[in-house]
Amino acid sequence: MLARAVTHALVGLEARRVEVEAHLQGSLPAFTIVGLADRACQEAKERVRSGVRSAECQWPEGRITVNLAPAALRKEGAGFDLPIALAVLAASGQIPRAELERHAVHGELALDGRVRPVAGVFAVAEGAKRARLPRIICAAQTAPEAALAGIHPVPVWHLAEAVAYLRGELEPEPIPPRNGVAPVAGPDLADVHGQERARRALEIAAAGRHNLLLGGPPGTGKTMLARRLPGLLPQLDESASLEVTRIHSVAGILRIEHPLVTTPPFRAPHHTASAAAIVGGGRGPRPGEASLAHHGVLLLDELPEFVRPALEALRQPLEDGVISVARAEGTALYPASFQLVGTMNLCPCGARGDPAVACTCSSQRLAAYGNKLSRALLDRFDLVVVVPRPRAAELAAGESEASAAVRLRVAAARSRLAEHTPARDEKADALLTRAVEQLPLSGRGRARVARVAATIAALSGGDAVESAHVAEAISYRAPKELKGQ
């Protein structure tokens, strides 16, 4: 007796159809799972067995073989528990087989038969939708997430509920979709006193999606400023929102209350993070912090403290907006078009740039510190600002402009930039040429200044890039002390 349930396995962000076949034979009792299942998947046996009993169904006697097809695809995780349980029940005739085959199934089982939510439901639901399956049976908590894929979810709390539903005895209550929830308020720029230059740089970075590097002695507010960038960014549009939701779903970090991610994500991995943690990887690769920051902000606090492979691995996504993680089993592509914000001290001891303390670093240590960041990575930062230590008078000052006001200007500049990139007028061109000769500015440096100048022009509301815009852009180039000179 054979029955089949359909589910999906994730390869990167892509859902691949997996058929869960269960076969019963009258012989000595046994339960085997074949089809390249990993540990968590093999352990499904125990959960399924006690789950079925808890659902007051009968555990079939004899030999049960479960095959996860295609056999060559590696299957990971606990999402196969529910499809295995239902396939076994269908094979033993306890639920109608034809009915089961018309559903996608995804979920983990508790020993008492409850259905637990698992990561990646959104991607699985998308796969089911593409496979033209009309409904997906999943944990009730993840039903709103599945609904985002445009498929009809069947929310179940318990295996018994799924069984009753498939028998046609029960129609589970639909879970109302919970999208478009107002964004949670992040830290506000109004808390930052003084720091006019850095605030301006944040605004330009937000408007032009430029990568930003904040340098300066410790305690001057670099991290505080960096954390306020996401609050200046406009909401995600629909397609971006779905892309981010897919990645966050696979990583299992979606919020159950409002699964659709509409605000630009903000990720700030600790500086001990490995290269795999940042760009993604592991067996059956998982998205890294860079992908989780897709369409949002990736903050690397204390940039030079990160291990060099992790920093160098960021060069590909910074260039192409995607990360390809190659493993023996295949290559997974993760979108990773993020805005990079870095903070760093000016020297290893941190005193440089602080008038109150003397720097004790030797010239060798200084040079080694500068060399930690490759020129190639430093070149990716369009805006570099050295944040000086604020005076006591600034710290005592009243409130400054709030994020909401800046966000309006940023949104206006974004829509202007989307229409057309402002071109440089004659004087602006002349100034840029002069800067290239005099400073000197490399080819890449020139392109950076031109990009930033276009954003500044858009922020000012003009149609053309004027020489003042180029001049301002020049002031945000990387100072020589960060280049190890």
């Binding site: 003084g194 720091q195 006019e196 230059r197 850095a198 605030r199 301006r200 340098g215 300066g216 000016l346 440089r352 740039g353 008038p355 003397a358 720097c359 004790t360 670093c361 030797s362 010239s363 200084l366 040079a367 050295v386 944040v387 000086p388 604020p390 005076r391 600034e394 100034l431 002069r434 800067a435 005099q438 400073l439 500044i456 922020l459 000012s460 003042a468 815009h469 001049a471 301002e472 020049i474 002031s475 945000y476 100072p479 020589k480 002390e481 190890g484 000179q485």
Partner: protein, 327 residues
Amino acid sequence: MNELALAAFAAEHGIHPRTEARTARFAAFSMRFDARGYLGALERQGLRWLARSDRAFPPLLREISDSPSGLFLRGDAPPELLARPAVAIVGARACSGYGAQVARMLGRELAAAGLVVVSGLARGIDGEAHRGALEAAGATVAVLGCGVDRDYPAAHAELAGRIAATGLVVSEYAPRVEPAPWRFPARNRIVAGLAQATVVVEARERSGALITADFALEEGREVYACPGEITSALSAGTNALLRLGATPLTSSADVLELFGLEAAVEVEVDLDAPARAILQRLDGPTSADELVRASGLDAGVAAAALSELELAGLVATSDGVYRRTGR
């Protein structure tokens, strides 16, 4: 030719080339030494040899007590460059932003007035002094503490190339001689020896730059020291020099006076209103934020004005603060 043999002998045995070598080992060496072949090999590398007995050898350097037997030269400039009025600018490798700016400003202004800027190609003050002179399209000489063909420190290879293009890179050490700690004090005597005056920009309490100043004092040359904050470790050496009677350096005019030279006329630049407003308020090191508040300008406008001033050479920035370069 005996001088060249001595330099080659010293390179081969890793010793300091002394003026007299009367050992049997040296006698044997100079017997089989092929001076013509050696000079030919030098020429193929684009290097030259300037013996002390040569008429073009700088007279000031010939005067010093431990004058080198000759100099290896890299660069296209004639050896007479070394005999021109010169000033040495030396200081700490790990210098502050202030020190770097002073060194660059002095290098630029002294070279623009026609002096040759001599220094040691080291990181920090030395490199900035060379860069300043190059900025002014002036002449500059780098004295190495290793073989003249080597670029040490490696980070200054490009700078050495630019110096050799218009000035000279010189060393008493034959090509391929490795840098060694004991060679640098010896190098410093040549730096001081080539110049009528030595300027110490920033120096810690026990800095190599002070050795240069000592050599200069011994030879009766003028020594200038840039005053620094008394609490700064980087100025401990220079402030100690001042206490011992070195001349305080308050502007490049102090040095030019010694040579009877006038400062090169600064070209007046047209500045727009925001740039003028910023320049007016720039008095000592100031952060961009303070300038924004003092001038009442928008942060963006102030940033543009600062860039403009920087391009005009009136303002320099380091570690997030801006300073006027001239006065």
